[in-house]
Amino acid sequence: MKRAFPILAVLTAVLLSYGLYGALIVAPTEKTMGDVQRIFYYHVPSAWTAFTLFFLNLAASIVYLIRRNPKADALAFAAAEVGVVFCTVVLVTGPIWARPVWGIWWTWDLRLTLTLVLWLIYVSYLMLRRFSTSGQTPMMAAVLAVFGALDVPLVYFSIWFFRTQHPQPVIGGGGSIDPRMLHVLLINWAAFSCFAVLVCWSRYHLEVLSREVEETQALESLLEAGNSR
């Protein structure tokens, strides 16, 4: 496993640079939107990666609730943290694109709102982990992840109805995509996924190590207290 890490790192670097080349040079310029459309090659893969990571967090949380495996908790933590970073990228690149194309920075559209609510839920998840006093943190965080997952369909339906009741800005949906564009998109998606796995992996490793250090220190101080008596 240890040897796979540098290989993955090299693969990620290659894919990311090829993806950048593809997004800036290979992909044709979009007819109506122009060059600003190229942000799409970062926006969409980030969104997919963020959702995958949130899903991973939920799965790991459920495993933790059933098995009480601390490694599942460390994985859930790493996935949530990296997921929030990717989700932030989505929420920042979206308005940059929307302003010149839609003429507005933000709209309470279904996907936008759902992404924002997910981001809020996972930020509150990270806050809980940060402020919680040790020991009970993994359990409470896992429970919160389950609550967040239950919330997603309800948010979906509420926004769906909210939007069908109110006027909606025109959103360029449907239509076909140029195969070269799709190719670049998929390359970038692969690159971002590799990148996410890479970061998650090292974050997970760091988390496991820091827990080991904490345990050792606690043990040492206990031993010292025992010796001095």
């Binding site: 930020v123 919680s132 429970v143 309800l154 909210f162």
Partner: protein, 224 residues
């Protein structure tokens, strides 16, 4: 003692405590009153506009005020290690949770009953749609706030700076419920749309999170 007996006993104890101290209800009432006055200063709407925005104002005021009561739910039990006593007692965790949630439901309902006339006076409200539906929305909406609020209060009581932690956990999860309450209230007040979808959504929210809370509360109570 049966589990419903435990629920009743805990609820009676909480109500008696509140009746004697009136801590939660007083602070909630004054807080909500301040919110109403500040909102009405800062917007100064006409009758037509106020009908449109009142749903949002009312529920945001109630949400903020409810947090005051919810924060006290479990913090009250930290004194004299009552929470630890609950943990070691054989009483089922769920009956304890139900008692606390029902207690909060009663507090917030009392608050709403007292504040609603004020809102009507300040904002010149009159429902153009079916007014009886407001009652359904109030009951379902209040339960939606307190069921998750009681649950997350049990979590936030174990954190540093617990008073601020509760809204941070509660508000993101409450977004769909809040949207449903606000939209249902506005639809009924303006009479422009049917509120049925929002009432169904609120009911679904209540069922989902009541089940989830009852299912997971024992884990949170026992987490140590």
């Amino acid at each position: 003692m049966s589990s419903s007996g435990i629920t009743r006993a805990t609820l009676a104890k909480d109500l008696r405590l509140e009746w004697r101290s009136k801590d939660a209800i007083n602070s909630m009432l004054f807080f909500a009153l301040l919110v109403v006055v500040i909102f009405s200063f800062s917007f100064d709407p006409t009758a037509e506009e106020s009908r449109r925005i009142a749903g949002g104002l009312v529920w945001v005021a109630f949400l903020f005020a409810a947090v005051v009561a919810l924060n006290q739910t479990w913090a009250r039990e930290l004194r004299n290690q009552v929470l630890d006593a609950y943990r070691v007692s054989p009483a089922p965790a769920n009956s304890l949770f139900l008692a606390k949630a029902l207690g909060n439901f009663i507090f917030v309902t009392v608050l709403e009953a007292l504040m609603a006339p004020l809102f009507i006076v300040f904002y010149n409200l009159r429902a153009l749609g079916p007014g009886y539906q407001l009652l359904i929305v109030a009951v379902l909406g209040t339960w939606a706030l307190v069921v998750n609020g009681t649950f997350f209060a049990a979590m936030s009581v174990r954190t540093r700076s617990r008073e601020i932690m509760l809204p941070l956990l509660l508000f993101p999860i409450t977004i769909p419920a809040l949207l449903a309450m606000v939209e249902a209230t506005s639809s009924i007040l303006t009479g422009e749309f049917s509120a049925r979808f929002w009432i169904v959504l609120l009911a679904a929210y209540d069922v989902v999170f009541t089940m989830a809370s009852l299912f997971l509360f024992e884990l949170v109570l026992q987490a140590e």
